[in-house]
């Protein structure tokens, strides 16, 4: 069974025992409480060539997202909506276990869950991004690059996506008398309806924790990500890993995550207004 490539970290048995002992006392290896996030740092406007950008650190996990807005054709089944495409890549820079190449199933899942959170919360009012219905719309591309992995890529990628969208600007286009698309001199923001917030939790044995590190993810039995809009509605959810959650745990997760989402929303908003000032 000598595998040619080690796919993920092997957590030392002693370390795992330590982790479990601490969890029974409601503490974690890095001294956090079960429901404590690591420090979340959000910087926006880091790539001035992009329409919007954000660099997010959740503990040692580091992610950068960039928004590029172009004029394109809408999806055939939504002719009256602008285009939104979210891509995510775990760069080979991010860890010894990340290989260069097209996104694998984990990266694709990451991109799609982040996309759902933004799309279903209707963070961007896509109906306001139409120039010629069925033919020409604004197309918003968000590319998320993970630079360093230490667990909880879902939340870090979501915060970077959301912060970069919320601080994006673009030239205003209009349709002239001849039906041609023209660019005006006006710079406008994307039409934003609110900030969705992603909260990821993990189950290790009988204990639920928020914001797992790489080590905790290597040991966890199940993971669940929930995304909340500003009204406290759930707009996206994804359970991961082969382990299960019982009904009580699902309820606990939903209630806890809703509260954490409010906290994190303040941090994201703080990071966004910093950019407006600077």
């Amino acid at each position: 069974m000598m595998s040619a490539v080690k796919k993920s970290i092997v957590v030392e048995q002693l370390r795992k025992a330590q982790m479990i002992e601490l969890l029974s006392k409601e503490k974690r290896l890095d001294n956090r409480g079960l429901m404590d996030f690591r420090p979340v740092i959000i910087e926006t406007g880091v790539i001035d060539r992009a329409n919007g950008s954000a660099r997010v650190q959740v503990g040692n996990t580091q992610v950068i997202a960039g928004v590029k807005i172009e004029i394109g054709e809408p999806f055939p089944d939504t002719p009256e909506k602008g285009l939104l495409v979210v891509n995510a890549e775990v760069l080979p820079l991010a860890s010894a276990y990340a290989e260069p190449g097209p996104p694998d199933e984990d990266a694709i899942e990451l991109a799609r869950v982040v996309d759902r959170g933004v799309r279903e919360s209707q963070m961007i009012d896509l109906s306001k991004l139409v120039l010629i219905p069925g033919r020409k719309v604004y197309a918003v591309f968000v590319d998320v690059n993970v630079l360093n992995t230490d667990g909880n890529l879902f939340d870090a990628s979501s915060y970077a996506t959301v912060a970069s969208i919320a601080t994006s600007t673009m030239p205003k286009f209009y349709v002239d008398q001849n039906g041609q698309i023209k660019q005006s001199n006006e710079i406008i923001p994307l039409p934003i309806k609110g900030i969705p917030v992603s909260i990821t939790m993990a189950r290790i044995g009988d204990t639920l924790i928020v914001d797992p590190t790489s080590e905790e993810e290597a040991v966890m039995d199940a993971r669940i990500t929930l995304v909340f809009d500003e009204d406290g509605n759930l707009c996206a959810g994804q359970k991961g890993q082969p382990g299960t959650l019982n009904f009580d745990q699902v309820k606990t997760v939903a209630n806890t995550a809703k509260v954490k989402a409010k906290e994190i929303r303040e941090i994201i908003k703080g990071g966004i207004t910093e950019d407006a000032k600077g």
Partner: protein, 228 residues
Amino acid sequence: MPEVERKYVTPGELIAEGSYKPISNVIRIKDKLYATKVGLAEISHEGIRVIPLSGPYIPRVEDLVIGKIVDYSAFSWEVDINSCFFAYLSAQSVFGRDFSPDRESLLKKFSIGDLIYAKVIAYDRTRNPLLSVSGPGLGRIPKGEIVKISPAKIPRLIGKKGSMIKTIESATNCKLIIGQNGIILIVGTPDGVLLATQAIRMVESEAHLAGLTKNIQNLLSKSKEVQS
């Protein structure tokens, strides 16, 4: 006392000119000696060496290392020793020459995630390092906390004739087991382990600076004051 000149160097930098002997991390081109790593250059009549501040652990025969079991076959365990290569511990060396290949027995003895204290018994440019756990104090590590530092800093952590290690051990009432591969095991009370970890981190960040011994002593005695 032999005079030793010290200076910080980066790769490619000219350290000195003359008939010095290149000892380690130094190359000689005609009569010029250049550094090949970021580190502290020491120039003396013995020659010139550069103590690197980073770099992988390169195993040497007789080194004692702390390794993590990451895989196994019917014949051997694969061990992560924080080096460029995985090391191997043969089942025969553990169970005896008459052992017949059997994955079940291997898994029962050492399982994935176990830590072992082992000796490097073979390593050369043509093969992965080979380990042995036959010897006093070697084998599976049953308890303790692990701290990882850059292998380049281990000599400084041990100190002259083990002085630095003894200082930390007695001040924290802990037992420290040091792997040449940059991995250290600490066994003691939670407070002792915390203090020992702080001391080790201080050695790691100040290994090349003058006054480290004093700073360590200050750190250890300050804690004692707080405790009492």
